[in-house]
C-alpha cells in the first residue's frame, strides 16, 4: 500500500513538472516516432552511384541502365578521379569504372567498383546490391550467349538434316554414275582396236622407202651437179665467144668445150639410168609395203565397224555417268553452301570460353579506404560519438549547473556581459574536447598503432568545427532547462537521435528520400564525414568547405538562439531559477 502511494506520488510529481514530463515521457516517444518514420520502410537503399568510362560500350551502358533501375541515382563522372572523389566526399556511395569499349569476352576487362570501407554498415549492402545487379546482368548476358549457341546448334542441326538428304541423293547419283562407268569400261574392254602387226612388215617398208628415197635423192643430187657443170661450161663458151670473137683457135677451143659438154651429158644419162633402175627396185618394194598397209587399214576399218555398237553403249553409259556426276555436283554444292552458312554462324559465336559464357564479365572491388584493421575503419565513428556526447552533454549540464548554482546569481551581479560567461563555457568545453581528442589520437597512434598523428592538424580543425556546433547546441539546451536531470536527458536524447539518424547504426541510404535529404544537414553526419575525410583521405579543408560552413552556421545559430532566449526570458520574468533561488 505504501509502495503504491509512493508510486502515485512519484507520478504526480513527475507529471506536474511540465518540462520533466516532456523530457522523460514525451521525448523518448518523439524520438522513437522519428526513428520509426525514418527506418520503418522496406529494405531498400537510395544509393548514389558514380560511373565513369572513357568509352561507353553497349555492355557498359546496359550495366548503367540496370543500375538506374529502382532507387538508385547514377551520376556520370567526368573522370576516374572525380568518380572516386565523389565516394570520398560522400556524394556517391560507390564508383564504377568501366574499361573502355567494354565487351563480353575480354578477360582482361573488368568493372572496377570503388567502395568506402569505413561506411561499414553500408559497404556490405552496396557490395551485395552491386553483386546482385551485376549477377543479374551477367545471367542475362550468359543466357543470351547460350541462346546464341543453342540457336546455332539448332541451325546446324537443321542444315545438317537437309545436307544429309542431299548427300544421300548425291551418293545415289554417284552410284548410278559408277555403275554406268563400269558398264562403259566393260564395253570398252570388249572393243578391239588392234591389227596383226606381223602381217605388215612396216620396218621393211620403211627400209625400202628409205632406200628409194635415198636413191632418188642421190640421182637428184647428181643431176643437179651435172646440170650445174653444164651451165658452167656453157657460160665459159659464152664468155670466150664474147671475149675473143670467132677465129680459128677459138673454134678449137669451142669444139673441145662442146665435147666436154657432151661427155657430161653422157655421164648424166648414165647416172639417171642407174638411178632409175635402183628407184624402180625400191618403188616395187614400197608398193609391196603399201599393199600390206592398205590391207591393214582395211582390217582396221572392219574392226572399227564391228566396235561401233559397243562404242555407242559406252558413250551412253558415260553420258549417264556425266549426268549423275553433274547432279552430285549440284548436291555437293548445296552441301558446301550449307557448310559455309554453318561456318558463318559459328564464326559469329565469339565467346567460346565456358567460364566467359557462365560469367560474361567480371568485377573488381577496390576499397578507397587505406586502412588495415576494423578498428581503423570505425575510428572516425568512435571519435565522432566521443565528440558528440562530450560536446553536447557536458556543456548542457554545465550550463544548467552554472545557472542553477548559487554562484549563478553572483555572475548576474557582476558587470560582465553574459557573452563572456557563455564564451568561457564554450572555450572550456572546446579545450576539454580537444584534450580528449589528442589523448585518443595518442592512444590510437602508440597503442593501436594506427597512424594518426601526422593528420592531427587537419583532424583538430575538423574537431574544432564539429565540437563548436555541438557545444553551442548543448549550451542552448542547458538554458532551456532548469533541472540538471532534464537537461541531461534531453542532451542524451538529442545525441542519441542524431546518432541513430546519422547512418552510424543504420545507413542513411535506408531511409526515405525526405529523411535522407534532411539528414544531410545532421551535424553528426557532417562531423563523421569531416573526420572520415580528414583521417582516411587527408582531404584539405578547402575541399570540405560546405561541411565547415554548415557546422559554423550551427554554432552561430545556436549561439544567437541562446542569447535571444536569455533576453526573452529576462523580459518575460521567467528567470524562474533565479527567482526561486532569490525568493526563498
Amino acid at each position: 500500500m505504501k509502495i503504491i502511494k509512493c508510486i502515485s506520488k512519484n507520478l504526480k510529481v513527475l507529471i506536474r513538472s511540465r518540462v520533466a514530463s516532456f523530457v522523460i515521457i514525451l521525448a523518448p516517444l518523439l524520438i522513437f516516432l522519428l526513428l520509426e518514420m525514418a527506418f520503418n520502410v522496406p529494405e531498400q537503399y537510395t544509393l548514389h552511384i558514380s560511373v565513369f568510362s572513357t568509352d561507353y560500350s553497349n555492355l557498359s551502358n546496359s550495366v548503367v541502365n540496370e543500375l538506374n533501375q529502382g532507387y538508385f541515382t547514377v551520376v556520370q563522372a567526368n573522370s576516374k578521379e572525380e568518380c572516386i572523389e565523389n565516394v570520398k566526399g560522400g556524394i556517391s556511395n560507390t564508383c564504377l569504372v568501366f574499361p573502355p569499349n567494354m565487351s563480353v569476352g575480354k578477360r582482361e576487362d573488368f568493372i572496377e567498383i570503388y567502395l568506402d570501407s569505413s561506411k561499414n554498415n553500408l559497404v556490405w549492402a552496396i557490395k551485395d546490391i552491386i553483386k546482385n545487379k551485376v549477377e543479374k546482368l551477367s545471367l542475362e548476358l550468359s543466357k543470351n550467349l547460350t541462346t546464341g549457341i543453342i540457336n546455332t546448334i539448332d541451325f546446324v542441326e537443321e542444315v545438317s538434316n537437309t545436307s544429309q538428304s542431299s548427300s544421300l541423293s548425291a551418293l545415289e547419283q554417284l552410284q548410278r554414275g559408277i555403275n554406268s562407268t563400269t558398264s562403259a569400261i566393260s564395253n570398252l574392254n570388249t572393243m578391239s582396236f588392234g591389227f596383226d602387226e606381223d602381217s605388215l612388215d612396216v620396218e621393211a617398208i620403211k627400209k625400202d622407202v628409205k632406200h628409194a628415197t635415198t636413191t632418188t635423192e642421190n640421182v637428184i643430187v647428181k643431176v643437179r651437179s651435172l646440170l650445174n657443170s653444164l651451165e658452167d661450161k656453157f657460160d665459159a663458151i659464152k664468155d670466150d665467144i664474147l671475149a675473143q670473137g670467132l677465129n680459128s683457135s677459138d673454134e678449137d677451143e669451142l669444139l673441145a668445150l662442146i665435147n666436154s659438154t657432151k661427155s657430161s651429158i653422157s655421164e648424166l644419162s648414165f647416172a639417171i639410168k642407174d638411178n632409175a633402175n635402183s628407184s624402180n627396185m625400191s618403188l616395187a618394194q614400197v608398193s609391196e609395203g603399201l599393199q600390206v598397209i592398205t590391207q591393214g587399214i582395211a582390217d582396221i576399218k572392219t574392226m572399227l565397224a564391228e566396235d561401233s555398237n559397243l562404242k555407242g553403249d559406252a558413250v551412253a553409259n558415260l553420258e549417264a555417268t556425266s549426268q549423275a556426276i553433274s547432279t552430285s555436283k549440284d548436291e555437293l554444292s548445296g552441301i558446301k553452301d550449307n557448310l559455309e552458312d554453318i561456318l558463318s554462324r559459328l564464326a559469329q559465336i565469339t565467346v567460346r570460353e565456358p567460364s566467359e559464357i557462365v560469367k560474361p564479365f567480371d568485377v573488381k572491388m577496390v576499397s578507397i579506404t587505406p586502412v588495415k584493421t576494423q578498428m581503423s575503419l570505425v575510428f572516425p565513428q568512435f571519435l565522432g560519438i566521443l565528440i558528440l556526447f562530450i560536446s553536447l552533454v557536458i556543456p548542457c549540464v554545465m550550463s544548467v549547473n552554472e545557472r542553477r548554482s548559487s554562484a549563478g546569481v553572483r555572475q548576474l551581479l557582476t558587470p560582465v556581459l553574459r557573452v563572456v560567461y557563455v564564451m568561457g563555457m564554450y572555450l572550456t568545453n572546446l579545450l576539454l574536447v580537444l584534450a580528449q581528442v589528442i589523448a585518443v589520437a595518442l592512444i590510437t597512434q602508440f597503442i593501436l598503432k594506427i597512424d594518426i598523428l601526422y593528420k592531427l592538424p587537419t583532424l583538430l580543425i575538423g574537431v574544432l568545427a564539429s565540437s563548436s556546433a555541438f557545444i553551442m547546441i548543448g549550451i542552448f539546451l542547458g538554458h532551456l532547462f532548469n533541472e540538471e536531470h532534464n537537461a541531461t536527458i534531453s542532451a542524451v536524447s538529442l545525441a542519441s537521435l542524431l546518432l541513430f539518424l546519422s547512418g552510424a547504426i543504420l545507413p542513411l541510404e535506408a531511409m526515405p528520400p525526405s529523411f535522407y535529404y534532411i539528414n544531410q544537414y545532421n551535424p553528426f553526419v557532417i562531423t563523421i564525414s569531416v573526420l572520415r575525410r580528414s583521417i582516411f583521405f587527408n582531404t584539405p579543408i578547402s575541399a570540405q568547405a560546405r561541411e565547415f560552413i554548415i557546422l559554423v552556421l550551427y554554432s552561430v545559430v545556436f549561439y544567437l538562439l541562446t542569447f535571444i532566449y536569455i533576453e526573452i526570458m529576462k523580459k518575460r520574468h521567467i528567470f524562474s531559477s533565479i527567482k526561486r533561488l532569490l525568493a526563498r
Binding site: S405, S406, A407, G408, V409, R410, Q411, L412, L413, T414, P415, V416, L417, K570, K571, H573, F575, I578, K579, L581, L582, A583, R584
Partner: protein, 321 residues
C-alpha cells in the same frame, strides 16, 4: 535627488505573473547609513532588493543611484535601468543563500569575482587578504567552499560581495539559518564594513537585530514601505518593551486579567494573534514582571519567557495590524 541620498526608489512595482509583490513603493537610502528593511515573511523584501540591484526588471517605477557613489565622472544621478552595468561596479549584494562556487576555495572565489569586477590583480590580492581577515576566514582560505560551515559560508558570501570595494552593500537576510553566536559575528562584520564608509542596505525579519544595527528601518507591508522608523527617535522615549511568550490560547485570558490592573494602559498592551506575540510597554519592568507572574499563577498559565525588546517590534506590530 536629495544630496544625502545614494538611492532613490520611486513608484516601484514588481509582479510575478498575476501576483503583484511590490506596488508603488518608494524609499530613499542615505549615504553611509545602514538602512534596514523588515516585514513579515513573503512580503517581498528579497524582491525589493533584487529590483534595486537590477537582478529583476520592475514593471514600473524608477531606481536612481546618486553621483555620490558613482564618483566625479558621473555628476548626475543615474537610472538603474539605463546604467545597470556601470552601477553594478559600485554595489555589492549578499543574497540570502550564499552565492559562490562551492567547488572553489574562498581565495579562488574571491579572486574570480574580483577579476569579474576588473579589480587589478595587486589590489585583488590585497582585498582578499583584508576580507579573509575581516571575515575570520583566513584559516579556511584554501579549503573547498562546500566544506565550510554555515557561518563561514555566509561570511564568505559577504566577502565576495565586498571584493570590489562597493559603495553600497546589500544584505538579504544575512543571519537567517545562523545560530545566535554566528549572527552576532555577522552583524559585527556589517558594522565594521559600514564604519569603513560603505552604505549598507539590509533586509531581515530579526527585528531586535536590525533595530540594534540600523539607523533607519523601513517596514514593508502590502508591497510598500509603509513606515520608516528612525532608531534615534525610538530610543528617546525611555520606556521598556517586554516580549511575553506563553502557551497558545491562554493569551486572551491573561490579557483580560492584566487589564484589570489599572496601572496598565490598554494601549501599551499589544497582542498579535498571527504571531502569538504579546508586547507590553512598561515604565517599571520589575513591577510588571511581579504582576504578570502572580496573575499567571492565579490563572494557572505557564509563562515560557519574558524578555526585553526594542520599540520596533511594537511599531512593527501596530503598523502591520
Amino acid at each position: 535627488m536629495n544630496t544625502e541620498n545614494v538611492i532613490e526608489v520611486k513608484g516601484l512595482s514588481v509582479s510575478f505573473g498575476k501576483q503583484r509583490v511590490i506596488h508603488g513603493l518608494s524609499l530613499e537610502v542615505r549615504h553611509k547609513e545602514i538602512f534596514g528593511i523588515t516585514g513579515v515573511s513573503g512580503v517581498g523584501k528579497t524582491t525589493l532588493l533584487n529590483a534595486i540591484v537590477g537582478l529583476i526588471q520592475p514593471d514600473r517605477g524608477e531606481i536612481n543611484y546618486s553621483s555620490i557613489i558613482l564618483g566625479e565622472k558621473h555628476p548626475r544621478p543615474l537610472k538603474l535601468r539605463k546604467h545597470l552595468r556601470l552601477i553594478k561596479n559600485y554595489i555589492g549584494y549578499s543574497t540570502q543563500d550564499p552565492s559562490f562556487y562551492e567547488e572553489l576555495t574562498p581565495i579562488e572565489n574571491l579572486d574570480f569575482f574580483g577579476a569579474m569586477y576588473s579589480v587589478p590583480r595587486r589590489i585583488r590580492q590585497k582585498n582578499i587578504s583584508i576580507l579573509l581577515e575581516l571575515m575570520g576566514l583566513r584559516e579556511v582560505g584554501n579549503k573547498i567552499a562546500k566544506s565550510l560551515s554555515g557561518g563561514m559560508r555566509k561570511r564568505l558570501d559577504i566577502a565576495c560581495a565586498l571584493i570590489h570595494n562597493p559603495k553600497i552593500l546589500f544584505l538579504d537576510e544575512p543571519t537567517s539559518d545562523l545560530d545566535p553566536i554566528l549572527r552576532g559575528r555577522v552583524w559585527s562584520v556589517v558594522k565594521r564594513v559600514n564604519q569603513l564608509g560603505t552604505t549598507v542596505v539590509v533586509s531581515s525579519h530579526f527585528l531586535n537585530e536590525i533595530e540594534q544595527l540600523c539607523s533607519r528601518i523601513g517596514i514593508l507591508h502590502n508591497g510598500r514601505i509603509i513606515r520608516v522608523v528612525s532608531n534615534k527617535k525610538q530610543t528617546k522615549k525611555g520606556h521598556v518593551w517586554l516580549e511575553v511568550v506563553i502557551k497558545p490560547k491562554q493569551y486572551e485570558q491573561l490579557i483580560g486579567e492584566l487589564l484589570k490592573n489599572k496601572s496598565l494602559n490598554p494601549e501599551n498592551i499589544n497582542y498579535d494573534k498571527k504571531s502569538e506575540l504579546l508586547l507590553v510597554r512598561v515604565s517599571h519592568e520589575g513591577k510588571f514582571k511581579e504582576l504578570i507572574h502572580s496573575t499567571a499563577k492565579k490563572l494557572g498559565v505557564s509563562i515560557t519567557s519574558i524578555k526585553r525588546t526594542g520599540p520596533l517590534k511594537e511599531i512593527f506590530m501596530q503598523t502591520v495590524q
